[in-house]
């Protein structure tokens, strides 16, 4: 069964963010169960919210006899912090590309045994040798997407096809939202400056920081991750956001569009990884292989509505999904965009200091 987009009430990057921000407990509400059940025959799967098909895991259990214990995290930082002092019992996790690099550096990931994942053959060859994980030793692609600008068509004079509309122009003062993640916000400033979004030289950071401090008063919100809600509610007309989040509100409102600016945006990829200390790596490999199956991949992609890197699965999907430019952006936009490279701990802290200065500015 193919779900209608209306069923996708909330996207995975949004759902638990507010609660996580509160530092509230209970995100991993069934952890004790997860610990208790970590014998052979159970895979402990730690994933983003609303990032799996309705019946995917039950079907997997029916097909293989392996139970799945499913747990949710709200963002990569939570995932990293949870594993920082040792793996509490997870077999399969879903970090984003730059966090794969960070976790490899921290020796948190095990090498995958490709011989146990024959469905790797289904993957689009473009995804088989990324810079963040050469040869796919530690990670396999799950879904991918972009960061661009969501906008209200009736409220803009023209399509906001440049980051300048958000970062330097005053045309939409008081009607703009940016993401709350300092690194990403500074990276798009780098794109506007014509630099690589991974070029963290001191001059670049200083220039991006100055640009944001100058623009800050015109920005309505550095949205923890609800820019799409502000856009839908009419509180802002421009929102820098994840494509999946904008897609979600595009379903509800035809007046909302999504564009990757002409300077290029950010491409991200969420991946399937097995953390060090996984009690059941065999089961994790079986689940990875199952998720990369063509038909399973099709159902998954059409349900969660993110871009699938699975060529065999994509070939089976509906035209409505396959031809959606907000899921699969035009080739030129992809060519101009970049993936974020993990810059190392020192640079991460330098970026945070710059972001704190932006936050402190009056």
């Amino acid at each position: 069964m193919i779900n209608t987009p209306k069923n996708r009430a909330i996207s995975r990057r949004t759902a638990l963010r507010g609660i996580a921000g509160a530092g509230a407990v209970g995100l991993t509400f069934n952890m004790t169960k997860a610990f208790a059940a970590s014998h052979t025959g159970t895979v402990n799967f730690y994933n983003w919210d609303t990032y799996i098909g309705e019946t995917t895991l039950d079907d997997f259990t029916a097909a293989t006899g392996i139970e799945v214990q499913y747990d949710l995290f709200a963002d990569n930082d939570e995932l990293f912090a949870k594993l920082k002092n040792g793996n509490p019992g997870y077999d399969l996790i879903v970090p984003t590309n730059d966090y794969v690099e960070q976790m490899v550096e921290a020796k948190m990931l095990t090498e995958l045994d490709h011989s146990k994942i024959p469905n790797m053959a289904n993957l689009d060859p473009d995804f088989l040798d990324p810079a963040f994980d050469p040869g796919r030793k530690y990670s396999l692609p799950y879904m991918w997407g972009s960061i661009g600008i969501g906008y209200r068509k009736s409220a803009v004079s023209k399509e906001p096809d440049s980051w300048a509309d958000l970062y330097t122009s005053d045309e939409y003062a008081g009607r703009m939202a940016m993401l709350g993640n300092g690194q990403t916000v500074l990276q798009m400033a780098l794109k506007l400056m014509g630099k690589s979004l991974n070029d963290w030289s001191d001059e670049n950071v200083a220039a991006a920081e100055a640009m944001l401090i100058a623009q800050k008063s015109r920005i309505t919100a550095f949205a923890p991750d609800n820019g799409q809600d502000l856009l839908l509610a009419g509180e802002v007309d421009l929102a820098m956001e994840w494509n999946g989040d904008i897609l979600q509100v595009m379903d509800e409102d035809d007046d909302i569009g999504y564009v990757i600016p002409k300077e290029g945006g950010l491409l991200w990829e969420d991946t399937l990884c097995v953390p060090v200390g996984a009690p059941n790596p065999e089961g994790a490999h079986a689940l990875i292989n199952y998720l990369l199956d063509a038909e399973v991949g099709r159902d998954l992609a059409e349900f969660i509505y993110y871009g699938t890197p699975n060529a065999a699965a994509k070939a089976l999907t509906s035209e409505e999904y396959r031809e959606n430019p907000a899921i699969f952006p035009p080739a030129e936009a992809v060519a101009l965009s970049e993936t974020s490279v993990y810059p190392g701990q020192e640079i991460v802290q330098m970026i945070d200091a710059a972001w704190t200065r932006v936050k402190a500015a009056g």
Partner: protein, 306 residues
């Protein structure tokens, strides 16, 4: 009266669990954070305690000082407003009829029965550009606009071409409203209890001797309940200093307080030593506030003796 020294087992049975709880869940974790604050990141996952003071030195960078100042300022303003609103409310409850008192107190503590996150989202709903407050104002604006139109007056001069919603969210005002809303019950209760304990005959004496309502309030009532006021101020100010959720949601990333920086150190920046130093610095500010209180108490005690 029985001294606790003479019945150690009983005393131990009562004090033991609490002490153990404090030790395991408060003092030991605090000690760990304290050692982290003198540590350095040696890898992505390891912190080595080298007794460096560089984490504390970083607190004196201008942006951190700015954020600490903003934190103290917003918490301070919220505290003053809480006292100004809380005092009359406490006075009404304290002087109310006995049968109403429990109900009035219940109304004050009722918000605690709802999760802070949900209450904050409710405030978002009320204060937003399309929120209840602004929609009500919009309605009023439309009535005036219609009135001016029928009268043939050019109203644009008086009320603007179109309705401009008040931007509460993402401003310091919005954060202060949120802080006052969250902390007001904390201010009311200690003032109420001070008013309850006070001997009412002082007020009667003051009025009998010719002081008016106004003078009685400021010269008799307020000084007599000053202990309650100080407690209310402290119990409001200290939690407000550590507010995270209110600036995060109502401030919309535009009005960060220090707790928002601390959160980032433990997550995004992965710099637990600096985050620990910031947390402890906040604790030191708390100690200073408590020390000021102790000095006030001591002077009050001296005053009574004199």
């Amino acid at each position: 009266m029985e001294s606790w020294r003479r019945s150690l087992p009983v005393f131990g049975a009562f004090a033991g669990p609490t002490t153990l709880w404090l030790l395991i869940f408060f003092l030991i974790p605090l000690g760990i954070i304290w050692t982290y604050s003198f540590g350095e990141n040696v890898s992505l996952t390891e912190i080595e305690t080298t007794w460096t003071t560089s984490n504390y030195a970083r607190i004196f960078e201008p942006e951190i000082i700015t954020l600490f100042w903003r934190t103290v300022k917003l918490a301070g303003i919220a505290t003053v407003i809480c006292l100004l609103i809380g005092y009359p409310v406490a006075l009404v409850i304290a002087t109310a009829d006995q049968k109403w008192k429990p109900w009035l107190l219940l109304v004050i503590i009722l918000p605690f029965w709802t999760n802070l996150l949900i209450r904050t989202y409710a405030l978002l709903n009320i204060l937003g550009a399309r929120g209840r407050v602004n929609e009500s104002l919009r309605w009023v604006w439309e009535q005036f606009d219609a009135l001016f139109n029928t009268l043939g007056i050019d109203g644009a001069m008086l009320i603007g071409e179109r309705f401009q919603p008040i931007g509460f969210l993402g401003t310091e005002m919005g954060v202060v409203i949120g802080l006052v809303y969250v902390h007001l019950p904390f201010a009311v209760l200690p003032i109420y209890s001070a008013l309850e304990r006070m001997d009412r005959s002082y007020l009667e004496a003051s009025m009998d001797l010719g002081a008016g309502q106004f003078r009685t309030f400021f010269l008799i009532l307020v000084p007599l309940t000053s202990a309650g006021l100080v407690t209310a101020a402290i119990i409001t100010f200290i939690p407000a200093l550590g507010s995270f959720l209110t600036p995060d949601l109502l401030g919309r990333g535009q009005v960060d307080m220090i707790a928002n920086v601390i959160e980032r150190q433990f997550k995004r920046a992965n710099d637990w030593p600096f985050g620990s130093a910031l947390s402890l610095f906040l604790l030191y500010i708390t100690f200073i506030v408590l020390a000021i209180r102790a000095v006030i108490d001591m002077q009050a005690a001296k005053g009574r003796r004199a």
